[in-house]
Point group: C2
């Protein structure tokens, strides 16, 4: 380490740790009349949020939760979840946001692995919880979360019902200071193989992520990604990378927040209307579902900004949303990155240019936010040029990346090989530092010595007017190594076949966008495409399904 | 310390220090065609800024500057200053921003006290430097900064001229990582007694200050304090609390920056016009000067947002600026606080209310920015209620407060008594946490057992149409302890006398805004009011002047 000048603080000087409790300071100073809304069931203002967080901290402390303990939450998106995301870390404990869409076996694995001590259980998950309870090895107590009249349930070691406990607790709590590198949150990410892996984020990391996210603009027209006058409603579950960290940003800025509970598309549209929602974020498949639901038909969603992440955003969905008045902006990140890494940014040059070029940029991963340092490397770890052409694995440095996988030192070391976090994504970086994700390393299709991006093919195929959804995977081929296979869902009442797709792709070959080897050999029109628990295309499952169909149907479904 | 969960990072995991070099990452990614402009002499884009910083780092390293060394800058506001604010800390050294408006003796004191090793000297200060050079105890080398054709000067141990050295240096530099708690910047603050005191800020503190400042909005209409489409020109010198840290924010966000050199009002107005400046910050006296200069007459500055700090903003100046199309917003901070603590924030309630109420809020110290924790205390250190009424000393916690005074442990401990930074300001906090500065503790006028705020009196008197500037101080009075004394500058061609001021104040007494003891006993109409080196009212000098006048004129100048 270099001999820089480090001066010991004066006697009494307060060395300020970056703790989540500090994110609560400014919201109610800015806008104390703004509301936190839970469906059509509850609404309260910012000062009440602070008070409820103090009450919850008292409830948890009385239930025996201590600094360093893990407290799990099994809930839909709610004001309670928001309160837990503050109160649990603020007493020095760790909040485990349980992915309730995993299988019971996986949920059980994550809860035992995370050492959960107390669990907050929504009444909808009481049955699930009862089924796994006998196998839980560390949980000592439960708290019931309920919207309805029932205030008790057959939960083992039940401390009580959330609202009743809060009502009885003291409204003040003297939140302590501690090491800013203390773990605040944890959750599990499911890979293609092996058990779910636990990522974790410290107080310092979450505060820095919140600050950087709050500076993001998205366009030189100076409107923010999320402005202080926006009304925020998450449509990415709070168990999924803390709803991308946006609840912390909204709270710091004093923005009205609307929590929709379970994601029922018609309910989301209803809340959008009654609460005047103007800012949300979701994965492409949820947006698709939203646009297709009954309440959305014929509705102009003008003024609704939605950030799309989790999977790449294709042009067809972008245009469909635009047709509904929704301004989409793509962003990029992953569970390991807290998650925000980059967001589409329309700069001065693009703003002065063509709408079509702006669209091309808006659907890409975008420009890294402040403090993020990206690079691309080859298979040997050599840095590659940022020329917008050369593809390599995207690696990252930022102040808010998981420092490993919980209790998995080898997987952690693999993630951090060479001192950079390995995303597993193939990307280019252009001269502006804009990231363009080409594919997951494992989803790139290697055919006849060429690399074909499954994402690029999906984007092009999605532009066919009869295609509602598409997934492309590589399947083993004795001659070419791999060949692209496309799975399609047709728009209601529209026919599409292999020939139509080939004719649609041919001009892109002629324009040089793709080479002719990229045209899928096979295509299957299906009713639904398999998704993961967080709504992404489940390519692992798709490959397995295709292998099974091929075995059952001795090969080809629809050859080109 | 509590037993929270702190997990050692995985093997190879990169623990990201908050270093100033990271603030350079995003600007050129966002807007690489944006310019840094120096008067009408030089303009270049963001990628060139990064390159010039690397060149400067090579020049400094070749000149023998090492991590931990202090490098002083004596320059007007320039692109060179901006480059120095990055390059010097980025090599692990400390940049000392010399206050060139201090007396030669004070400058000499600060340079010896700070251990300056190398000095960057603008050709305008060569004479000054030559005069103090024989007494400098630590300086080894000098660099010449010059705008004109002369590329050399009679500077002792001259390494060379800035532009020539940069041109000859390598355009790349591998900036190292080091402890984020390393000191990056230092400068001196002059109190009412004793030698100037050195405050200092670390890399971590400046990065956090930059992030928080970038989130500040100022109004619920979602326009930013400074938006990415703004054009920034400082009118608070860069030697004064690094131009309030705004150059770091502008650079992080990729905003066009205009550096005006020496503050000549007509030149500032010219640059405003040619470069389309839309965001600035200054102290009230500089704004006054700007509005009164030749080039400003009859000009509509529509779209120019100016943040006012350093001294309290009175309503008369607010209205005068508004008459010129300038939107003023007050902010609060001090040298010890990096500086930003709070800024006027027009919330939803105020936006729906009366313009006059918004003005009242816009001229106050405003709402603390994210992460800042304010409190008010009595003389015994007891916390006082935040009721908007109770006055006490404002004390602070924030991640970017100086951790002491350089080599002055006792003064540092005094500053941090009880674990809170003592501002020396008397303030109230209202239910929203908004700060209203009532006075400096030492400027409060204690008359007949009542406390009278000199700031409040100045505000009320400034509303008299014939008053251009006013300062109120307490002067010793055998009967009342102290009595208020007002010093006025009349508007051109307008007469004002004690009777007129008394008549003007009477309604405020009747409305209960002030009590009758607050009406100044004496008044002097003068041509100019003494200012400090940074343009604040110099109340120490004013008190001395008054004492002298009283001695010379045996007392009263103009009694009420």
């Amino acid at each position: 380490m270099m001999q820089t000048r480090v001066i010991p603080p004066a006697e009494g000087a307060y060395q300020y740790p970056l703790l989540i409790k500090r994110l609560l300071l400014s919201g109610s100073r800015y806008e104390k009349t703004r509301e936190i809304v839970y469906r059509d069931q509850l609404r309260y203002t910012y000062p009440t949020l602070s008070e409820r967080i103090a009450r919850l901290a008292n409830v948890l402390t009385a239930a025996g939760v201590k600094a360093g303990d893990t407290v799990a939450v099994m809930d839909w998106d709610s004001h309670r979840y928001l309160e837990a995301m503050f109160a649990i870390p603020m007493i020095g404990a760790v909040v485990h946001t349980v992915n309730v869409r995993l299988s019971p076996e996986q949920i059980l694995f994550t809860m035992n692995h995370a050492d959960d001590k107390l669990v907050l259980v929504n009444s909808d998950f009481v049955g699930l919880y009862q089924a796994i309870a006998p196998h839980l090895t560390t949980v000592e107590k439960t708290l019931l979360l309920t919207d309805g009249p029932q205030k008790t349930a057959e939960l083992p070691n039940l401390v009580g019902e959330y609202e009743q406990l809060l009502a009885a607790a003291s409204p003040t709590y003297d939140f302590p200071d501690f090491d800013e590198n203390s773990v605040a949150t944890t959750f599990y990410t499911t890979g293609t193989t092996g058990n779910p892996k636990g990522v974790y984020f410290t107080h310092r990391q979450l505060v820095l992520h919140t600050l950087s996210l709050a500076t993001v603009t998205g366009s030189v027209d100076s409107t923010r990604f999320m402005g202080t006058n926006d009304v925020y409603m998450p449509i990415t579950p709070m168990f999924h990378v803390h709803a991308w960290g946006v609840p912390y940003v909204a709270t710091m800025l004093g923005i009205k927040q609307v929590y929709p509970g379970r994601y029922e598309p018609d309910m989301l549209v209803q809340l959008w209307k009654t609460e005047k929602v103007s800012f949300s974020h979701c994965v492409p498949t949820i947006l698709q579902m939203l646009l297709n639901c009954k309440n959305s038909q014929g509705v102009d969603f003008k003024g609704w900004k939605i950030i799309i992440g989790g999977s790449s955003l294709n042009r067809a969905l972008y245009e469909a949303a635009k047709g509904h008045g929704i301004q989409l902006t793509a962003a990029y990140g992953m569970s390991e990155t807290c998650p925000l890494i980059s967001a589409a940014h329309i700069n001065e040059e693009l703003l002065a240019g063509l709408e079509d070029d702006r669209t091309t940029y808006r659907i890409k991963a975008g420009v890294p936010v402040p403090l993020v340092e990206p690079a691309i490397i080859d298979a040997d770890g050599n840095f590659l040029p940022a020329d917008g052409e050369t593809q390599g694995e995207l690696v990252l440095r930022a102040p808010w990346l998981t420092m490993g996988y919980y209790r998995e030192p080898e997987k952690g070391a693999e993630l951090w090989k060479g001192g950079w976090l390995h995303t597993g994504d193939v990307a280019t970086l252009d001269g502006n530092g804009a990231i363009d994700i080409r594919d997951r390393i494992k989803d790139v299709i290697k055919t006849g010595g060429e690399w074909v991006s499954s994402l690029e093919l999906e984007d092009l195929i999605s532009r066919h007017p009869a295609v509602r959804e598409v997934a492309v995977v590589g399947i083993p081929d004795p001659q070419w190594g791999e060949r692209p296979f496309a799975l399609l869902v047709a728009r209601d009442g529209q026919g599409v076949d292999a020939r139509g797709i080939k004719d649609h792709l041919q001009p892109f070959v002629e324009l040089g966008h793709i080479n002719k080897w990229a045209i899928p050999s096979q295509i299957a029109v299906v009713g639904e495409i398999p998704k993961t628990s967080v709504g992404k295309l489940d390519k692992k499952k798709i490959r397995l399904d295709i292998a099974q169909w091929q075995a059952e149907n001795s090969g080809v479904l629809s050859s080109l």
